[in-house]
């Protein structure tokens, strides 16, 4: 892997600073070749998962997308829109066509169809596995285009190279990670590019393309609301700062009209495109921009005096109307319980919202706020380059650079709320770091170049060169601009300025500094290259070690260096699919729903599309109830098998016992007889001898630890690092039918109802209860 990266990185950075003549002659060709290489790099760095593991779909959600794609490729697009899936959410079912963002599946389905019509027999799975790497290559090209619009091709190439291997994005787009984000990041960056392009050119052609790109984004990911809020914010910013222009109008108005119309064509969005509060900002700004446009137009035709009169008239009348409209809007919005916001959006606006009201959203680990190390892990040195890039964007501040600044600021906030949204931050960080690096190299290489003829000359400014390269970069932007403009007279100018710069006070020197001393520049270039190298090493490490595991196969290295594979999940799913009846229902916690339907092809009660809280709470309640009640709940839902994931034998930490408190919480949220404190001893969650009886008698405990003690004689749980509390017990309503090789998945079957002999059961039951009552009384009975 090392050689292509260095090959790509070297020319990328030098190209940014390549001399003007070379750029003119070969610039286009070199940039094209570099872009191709960046694409190859983006694709190949994501193949570690295939090389180290296998070409297989990863994790949970991708399995659902894979299954939908299979359905699409088998049954065609019309059946796909009308697909009612009866293999999930039993007995409710789920309308897949209307509740899924179809962009990813349609993309992969189209690729599959095209490839197969050319008689290249790739399986649907292969296409799905490689969709994400292909689109990350596209995304880095889109980043090139966007940054090029903002700060020129040098910055563009640097940003593209950075985005090609930013770990945050790699984590979501390795081969096999077939999720919406894989195509959505490309769509996001490309939409932004087209917006900036329209803003810079004022071309209606690009505005239309922009609406189409936005449509693709709406198709692919719920994160499209980020676009439809960020762009209005930027428009508003431009208006407020007096940067309104007809280009801004063309960039914005068609996007809102066409974009909203197109967005409402996507079934999962539908009328939400005009009804929910997420889209409200875009319409408000749409009105504002029209008012502003009208004002500018009137200003153009009227004389200044008349205009003043008109302004006073319109403002007084307009204010009244506006107040009325806003009052109505607020009333409408406030009348809905969630203020018209969806739960996830509210979580973003109020980070504590989910943990208070929606435990399902809070229970997902990727919805937690990130820790500081995760920033360093996911964007690495970019975190330090971003501030430099922001400063570079401020000099000079253009429409497009203000957009990039707004983008980074908002995405930093969102990434601080949810780990998952680090993904939105990554392109912004890459773009800004690309700008910073490129500007820095521009300055440094230029100063080296100008000083090379007269090396001996000027050691005088060596005093203040020690600032880090990132600080150096912004200082010198005006100089580069000037230098670019006044090329012919450069030599003379430079001498003059050096003279000027020697004379005045140090503070002035710093400000007018145009050329850095040679040694400083050389050192700074070396340091920057070192920084880049460090970034590359980190990215390759992250891609190879941290983010490539498919999570359905686990591996561990034994002491002698051998590789031990834990393939228990697929063992269990394969067993289910071959040895149970096609229509059997399998109950498990919702994490395993998608995998069970996709790999085992069995009907599940709940899955990762957590649309029905009550249903999930029912399963959670069953898992936290004693055996008999659980059996009754499951039996009433027609369940035949119960699947639990148990890591106690091999030390697999994300098993059901560790997730169990969420089951209790979610179950207790709907069925109040499940109380979280019953499962905790003094506020502590434990399964050893100190655990509460409710805990030791609940179904999840029993199914996880059934006959566990016989493995080692003590029942030592390697995840919790303790001996279990209740060791020997029997199951009365469930029977073990399958346990995988490392015990990671255990499948139980509900025992059939006991044969009822007419009249006898009731009697025996009643007599038993009576007798037991008598026993109780008996102790107090004086005759005994």
């Amino acid at each position: 892997m090392a050689s292509p990266e260095s090959a790509v990185n070297g020319p990328t950075m030098t190209a940014g600073a390549a001399s003007k003549s070379l750029r003119n002659a070969f610039g286009g060709v070199i940039a094209f070749i570099i872009l191709v290489l960046i694409g190859v790099l983006a694709f190949s760095i994501r193949l570690f998962s295939v090389i180290k593991y296998e070409s297989v779909i990863h994790e949970f959600d991708p399995y659902f997308n894979y299954r939908v794609t299979q359905f699409l490729s088998k049954n065609g697009i019309y059946d796909f829109w009308n697909w009612f899936d009866d293999r999930t959410w039993y007995p409710l079912g789920r309308v897949i066509g209307g509740t899924v963002y179809p962009g990813l599946t349609l993309t992969a389905g189209t690729i599959w169809k095209v490839v197969n019509s050319l008689n290249i027999p790739l399986s649907v799975e292969t296409v799905c596995v490689f969709t994400a790497p292909i689109f990350s290559a596209f995304a880095s090209w889109a980043a090139y285009l966007l940054t090029k619009e903002v700060k020129g091709p040098g910055a563009g190439l640097t940003a593209a190279a950075l985005l090609a291997m930013v770990p945050s994005y790699i984590s979501r787009s390795v081969a096999g990670s077939y999720d919406n984000e894989a195509v959505a990041i490309f769509a996001l960056v490309f939409t932004f590019y087209l917006y900036i392009k329209t803003l810079n050119t004022g071309s209606l052609f690009y505005a239309t393309l922009n609406a189409l790109a936005y449509f693709y984004m709406v198709c692919s990911w719920g994160g499209y609301t980020f676009i439809i809020n960020l762009i209005p914010m930027h428009v508003l910013l431009c208006i407020v700062t007096g940067r309104y222009s007809s280009r801004l109008y063309i960039a914005y108005a068609p996007l809102v009209v066409l974009g909203t119309l197109l967005a409402s064509l996507v079934p999962v969005v539908g009328f939400n495109a005009v009804l929910t509060s997420e889209h409200f900002a875009s319409f408000l700004v749409f009105i504002i921009i029209h008012v502003v446009a009208l004002a500018y137009y009137i200003k153009g035709i009227l004389s200044p005096k008349m205009f003043k009169v008109a302004v006073t008239l319109v403002v007084s009348a307009g204010l009244a109307v506006c107040c009325a409209v806003i009052a109505i809007l607020i009333a409408v919005v406030a009348s809905s319980p969630t203020k018209g916001w969806s739960g996830r959006s509210l979580t973003l606006l109020d980070p504590t919202y989910a943990s208070k009201y929606i435990p399902i959203i809070a229970s997902v680990s990727e919805h937690q706020p990130p820790t500081w190390p995760s920033y360093f892990m996911d964007i690495n040195v970019l975190a330090f380059l971003v501030p430099a890039g922001i400063i570079a964007c401020f000099m000079p501040l253009t429409d497009s650079s203000s957009f990039v600044i707004l983008y980074i600021v908002t995405s930093v906030y969102f990434s601080g709320v949810m780990v998952r949204l680090m993904l939105v931050l990554a392109p912004a960080a890459c773009i800004l770091s690309g700008i910073a690096l490129s500007e820095a190299f521009n300055v440094l290489t230029r100063s080296i170049k100008f000083q090379l003829p007269g090396i001996a000359g000027n050691p005088s400014i060596a005093s203040e060169e020690n600032g880090s390269s990132t600080v150096v970069a912004p200082n010198d932007i005006p100089k580069t601009e000037e230098a670019a403009k006044e090329k012919p007279a450069k030599k003379n100018r430079k001498k003059e300025k050096e003279n000027v710069e020697k004379k005045p006070t140090p503070s002035k020197t710093e400000k007018r500094l145009l050329v850095l001393p040679l040694e400083a520049s050389v050192i700074a270039v070396l340091l920057l290259v070192l920084l880049g190298a460090f970034y590359v090493v980190h990215c390759v490490w992250a891609a190879a070690e941290a983010y490539s595991a498919p999570s359905i196969v686990l591996t561990s290295h034994s002491n002698d260096g051998g590789l031990h594979v834990f393939d228990d999940f697929r063992e269990a799913y394969s067993w289910l699919s071959h040895n149970t009846d096609v229509d059997d229902k399998v109950a498990s916690w919702w994490d395993y729903g998608y995998q069970t339907t996709a790999m085992a092809n069995r009907t599940v009660l709940v899955d990762n599309n957590t649309w029905n809280n009550t249903h999930i709470a029912t399963v959670g309640t069953a898992m936290s109830s004693p055996e008999k009640q659980a059996w009754e709940i499951f039996h009433s839902l027609d369940v035949k098998y119960v699947l639990v994931v148990f890591g106690g034998v091999v030390g697999y930490p994300s098993d059901d016992i560790n997730k169990f408190l969420w089951m209790v919480r979610i179950g207790g949220g709907v069925f109040p007889h499940i109380k979280e404190p019953d499962y905790l001893r003094d506020g502590q969650y434990r399964i050893d001898a100190q655990a509460t009886p409710t805990m030791l008698n609940c179904l999840m405990y029993k199914l996880s630890y059934f006959r566990f003690v016989e493995t080692d004689g003590k029942g030592f749980d390697r995840v919790r690092r303790t001996e279990i509390g209740k060791k020997h017990f029997k199951l009365t309503h469930f029977e073990e039918v399958f346990t995988t090789h490392h015990w990671m998945v255990r499948i139980y079957k509900l025992k059939p109802q006991r044969n009822r002999i007419r009249g006898k059961t009731k009697k025996s039951k009643s007599s038993r209860s009576v007798s037991s009552k008598r026993d109780v009384r008996g102790k107090r009975n004086p005759w005994h």
């Binding site: 008689n119 393939d567 029977e735």
Partner: protein
């Protein structure tokens, strides 16, 4: 599946000899071989006889007949010795049909004490060998003897034609009943030097069904006492010089396999994802590549022929239905197969990488395949090597036209406005 092998020595007087099988056996008949023996003991020489199915006009209850053609017609009064070997699949029935994990597997074997024959039999003895000494019960058709692992019925004298006397033997048989319910093998010939074989297996355990619980604790801690009739690994014998072997199923790679190669053979030891108990099923795919020069030859008349092994590479299994597809390269003509036993044949077309007209596929189907069918067969076809260049040329011309159109686009002014 262990097979009962019944050897029969008959004496007859005609130019050909008829054999008869009851209809239940005829359904599962995998193979019938016959040879005529001549000479005394230890100096016996055998001559293979041709066996072909015929209709027996006066056979009772739909018994099926086979005709043996003798090399030298027998004149009346002369005698000859014929040895007939036939193999049945699924001839044992587990009883009890469902057992729990710790139980041994008991099976019934049904047969007749007398051999079904259209001729009068002067004298006959039947031996039944069981795999273990644990025989629960057996029918008695006097005289009947049991000694160790062998049951002896007879000798019986002077039996009329088509006499039948059912016997039932109930004994322990813990051999894993690995049944490949369906096997589709695809042999794809590429004249660029590779032979790609893909085998789709549907494997089942044909023995007594597992009743109720499967306990991993018992299976792991007491391997000798628990699940004795289950099996967890299989051995596939592949040709030597095999490469790019993979073993997977529809949800991905199966990591539990081991390949051993030497110069004469390759052995692939595979474990299904889970141990197979009675009634459990599993599916998997094995694929591998072979060097073409080991299998493809040119015959004297200019035709090419593929010489490959029929049957199933898994040892110790029977295949209920085997479909063997030989995918010939695009542009080859007149395929014909030479196989030493009867199979069903038809043609298909397959479109693979960048095919235009498609590749001809010769499909061979056979039911009840046993390891004795692992013998070479040949597929002859004609092929013009110019077709090998079709796909590279197609790619080259596509790229050429792409560049040509780019050049054209850059140099032609197609704007409406002139000047």
């Amino acid at each position: 599946l262990s097979l009962s092998q019944v050897e029969n020595t008959g004496k007859a007087a005609a130019s050909d000899v008829l054999l008869a099988f009851p209809p239940t056996e005829a359904e599962h008949l995998a193979e019938v071989k016959a040879q005529a023996a001549s000479g005394k003991k230890r100096k016996k020489t055998y001559a293979h006889l041709i066996v072909e199915p015929t209709d027996v006009p006066d056979a009772p209850n739909g018994a099926k007949g086979f005709r043996l053609a003798l090399h030298n017609p027998l004149s009346p009064g002369e005698t000859t010795t014929i040895e007939v070997l036939y193999m049945l699949t699924h001839s044992m029935e587990p009883f009890p049909a469902e057992i729990s994990q710790s139980d041994p597997q008991l099976v019934y074997y049904r047969d007749s004490a007398y051999i079904l024959s259209p001729y009068r039999i002067k004298q006959q003895t039947t031996f039944i060998k069981t795999p273990s000494t644990n025989v629960q019960s057996f029918s008695r058709v006097e005289p009947t003897n049991r000694a160790g692992m062998e049951l002896k019925y007879g000798p019986y004298e002077d039996l009329p034609a088509y006499s039948y006397s059912p016997v039932l033997v109930h004994f322990e048989n813990n051999n894993p009943f690995a049944v490949v319910e369906e096997l589709v093998r695809e042999v794809e010939i590429s004249h660029w030097g590779n032979l790609q074989i893909t085998e789709h297996y549907t494997l089942a355990h044909g023995g007594a069904k597992l009743k109720g619980v499967f306990s991993r604790v018992d299976y792991q801690s007491r391997p000798s006492a628990s699940g004795v009739s289950s099996f967890k690994n299989l051995l596939a014998r592949l040709p030597p010089r095999v490469h790019s072997v993979y073993y997977r199923d529809e949800i991905g790679n199966i990591s539990s396999s081991r390949l051993r190669t030497d110069s004469r053979k390759s052995e692939l030891e595979i474990e299904p994802r889970y141990p197979l108990f009675g009634g459990w099923k599993s599916t998997f795919i094995i694929g591998y590549g072979l060097p073409l020069e080991d299998f493809l030859f040119e015959s004297t008349d200019g035709k090419r022929y593929l010489n490959f092994t029929f049957g199933c590479p898994l040892s110790g299994t029977v295949v209920d239905k085997l479909t063997l597809k030989v995918v010939l390269p695009e542009g080859s003509k007149d395929p014909s197969a030479v196989i030493p036993f009867p199979v069903e044949e038809h043609m298909e077309t397959k479109y693979s990488y960048l095919d235009v007209v498609g590749r001809p596929v010769l499909v061979l189907e056979k039911k009840n395949v046993v390891p004795e069918h692992n013998i070479p067969f040949q597929v002859y076809y004609t092929f013009n090597p110019i077709f090998m260049l079709a796909e590279p040329l197609m790619l080259v011309s596509t790229v050429f036209f792409l560049f040509a159109s780019c050049v054209a686009y850059l140099h032609i002014d197609i704007s409406i406005r002139k000047g």
